[in-house]
């Protein structure tokens, strides 16, 4: 990829857009139009992930689908290995299989378990050894939606116990004015701005309170538009150099590109 190419740290496959390849092709069309060169991809098109906890077999199936997409478009997707920390030995084995030996570049955690629980520590420690970032879904919701949905403060607790691991606070807690504050004191957490409404002030506040080098662009496509999420950066009142840092440079460092 080019030296300044946009890296989207957060996309998925999703059942609303067909099978894994059809969905990946949609992502590629959108990315091409918006100048996104590399996408960090996690989770397959299975529906159950939104309604009940995932089994070990389903965890493997999610990652198999992502692996197939990466194999077809290795220059456009970087795999994030989905784990179910309730099944710790199997999750650690999945790290060895997919991340330690490639081709996955990082780890994806959703709402299988609150992320401040002890089961997460061996996962975080191994990720740190491998230099693999952990992307943890975080959301602070006024209305409960998913079981074990972690707030950013829980991720901050995990991050403080594992200072050598890089974490991405996906969605920055959704309620970003609060979420940004919850991760301030955990310098190994980056704010992944994906997946919420393009509310003015988001990136400005994150850059001001965390530092530009701790803010990264992600979209949550295909459910979200690349465009609406890129607007958070392109529309932010921050210098062009800071926009470039958010769109590309920091993730380039995190992924060791």
């Amino acid at each position: 990829m080019s030296a300044s190419g946009i890296i989207d740290c957060h996309v998925h496959l999703h059942h609303n857009w067909g099978d894994r390849f059809a969905c990946a092709e949609l992502l590629l069309r959108g990315a091409d139009r918006m100048g996104v060169e590399l996408m960090c991809l996690s989770m397959g098109v299975r529906r159950e992930i939104y309604t009940r906890p995932t089994t070990v077999e389903e965890m493997h199936q999610h990652n198999d689908e992502v692996a197939q997409v990466i194999a077809r478009w290795p220059d456009r997707f970087a795999g994030m290995c989905y784990l179910t920390p309730r099944f710790l030995p199997q999750s650690l084995a999945e790290i060895e299989r997919r991340v330690a030996h490639g081709p996955f570049r990082g780890i994806k955690l959703l709402w299988d378990m609150y992320c401040d629980r002890p089961n997460l520590d061996p996962i975080a420690a191994r990720a740190g050894e491998l230099g693999a970032p952990i992307q943890q879904h975080t959301w602070i919701k006024a209305i409960a939606e998913h079981r074990c949905e972690s707030e950013p403060w829980r991720l901050a607790a995990l991050a403080r116990r594992n200072p050598d691991t890089t974490f991405l606070a996906a969605h920055t807690g959704g309620n970003w004015e609060l979420g940004i504050r919850q991760v301030i004191d955990a310098p190994n957490i980056l704010a992944d701005i994906c997946g919420g409404d393009p509310e003015m002030g988001y990136v400005e506040m994150a850059a001001r309170m965390l530092g530009t080098e701790r803010v990264v662009y992600g979209s949550d496509a295909p459910g979200r538009s690349f465009a609406s999420q890129l607007a958070k950066v392109h529309g932010a009142d921050v210098p062009d150099a800071d926009q470039q840092q958010i769109l590309s440079a920091t993730m380039r460092r995190v992924l060791d590109l």
Binding site: L26, L27, R29, G30, R33, M34, W139, I140, K141, A142, I143, E145, G174, N175, E177, G196, D197, P198, E199, M200, G201, A221, P222, G223, R224, S225, F226, A227, S228, L230, A231, K232, H234, G235, A236, D237
Partner: protein, 258 residues
């Protein structure tokens, strides 16, 4: 980003109580929109939503936009309060071309008779329904307001076919719900403002489902970054020039000509 003239059918002035809003004065808003080549905007007053006496917002808004020809004020009405007809008449006297309602914040639904009463009284004006103001998942814990349900909307449109009805801040799901309920025959007086359409290529998908002639360009600025709608329409989608012209200004101009 584009040389196509753009009318923003969903911009705002004033203050929202739960966040300090930038670019919320007429001059600042126009300057901010001009950065993305938006030349004109229909504007509501954010403060109106949570005023008790909503009608007081209308002369306030008229005063704010006075002398700013590129801003077209849209009034606010709460049709559950006594003498709302006077507020509507005042909007007409002030030269407003349309009014907005926030049924969820004011305790009524689109299936209630009061909506029909408003449409019947709104001759010569359009009526805009804001389905959301902000993401319900992040509402202040003491002010949690669910989105407006669109149940009953099609019947109201059919009963008042000469009144243009605009759904502002409408997401994909309720728009799709209406398209399915209408089974391919959406009322000709129903319009959809696009600031809240999402997914990759989502605006084009929704234009296909709803009809490009019903789509109005809007940003929800300055609550949203206006770049969002511009990038969605001009960069992520692949509209023909004629469709772009319809979405960005012709549909709005046709609506106002009714």
């Amino acid at each position: 980003m584009t040389a196509t003239p753009i009318i923003d059918c969903n911009a705002n002035l004033g203050n929202w109580p739960f966040r300090r809003t930038a670019y919320n004065t007429p001059d600042a808003l126009l300057e901010r929109l001009a950065r993305v080549n938006i030349d004109r905007a229909w504007v509501t007053l954010l403060d109106a939503v949570l005023l008790k006496n909503v009608g007081a917002a209308n002369p306030w808004l008229a005063e704010m936009v006075a002398g700013h020809d590129r801003l077209m004020p849209v009034g606010s009405i709460n049709p559950t309060w006594p003498a709302w007809e006077r507020d509507l008449a005042e909007c007409a006297d002030l030269g407003f071309r349309g009014v907005r309602v926030n049924p969820n914040y004011h305790g009524w639904t689109l299936a209630d008779p009061v909506f029909g009463e408003l449409l019947a009284a709104a001759a010569g004006m359009f009526v805009e329904v804001a389905l959301h103001m902000t993401d319900e998942r992040h509402h202040h814990p003491l002010v949690m307001v669910p989105p407006v349900a669109v149940d009953g909307l099609l019947a109201a449109c059919a009963a008042h076919p000469t009144v243009p009805i605009v759904l502002a801040n409408v997401k994909n799901a309720p728009a799709t719900q209406l398209a399915r309920e209408a089974a391919g025959d959406l009322p000709g007086n129903l319009y959809f403002e696009l600031s809240h359409f999402e997914s990759v290529g989502g605006v084009q998908q929704m234009a296909g489902e709803l009809g490009v002639e019903r789509i109005l360009f809007g940003t929800h600025a300055p609550y949203y970054y206006p770049e969002s709608s511009v990038l969605k329409v001009f960069e992520e989608c692949d509209f023909a020039d004629a469709d772009l012209a319809a979405i960005t200004h012709q549909n709005a101009e046709r609506l106002l000509a009714v």
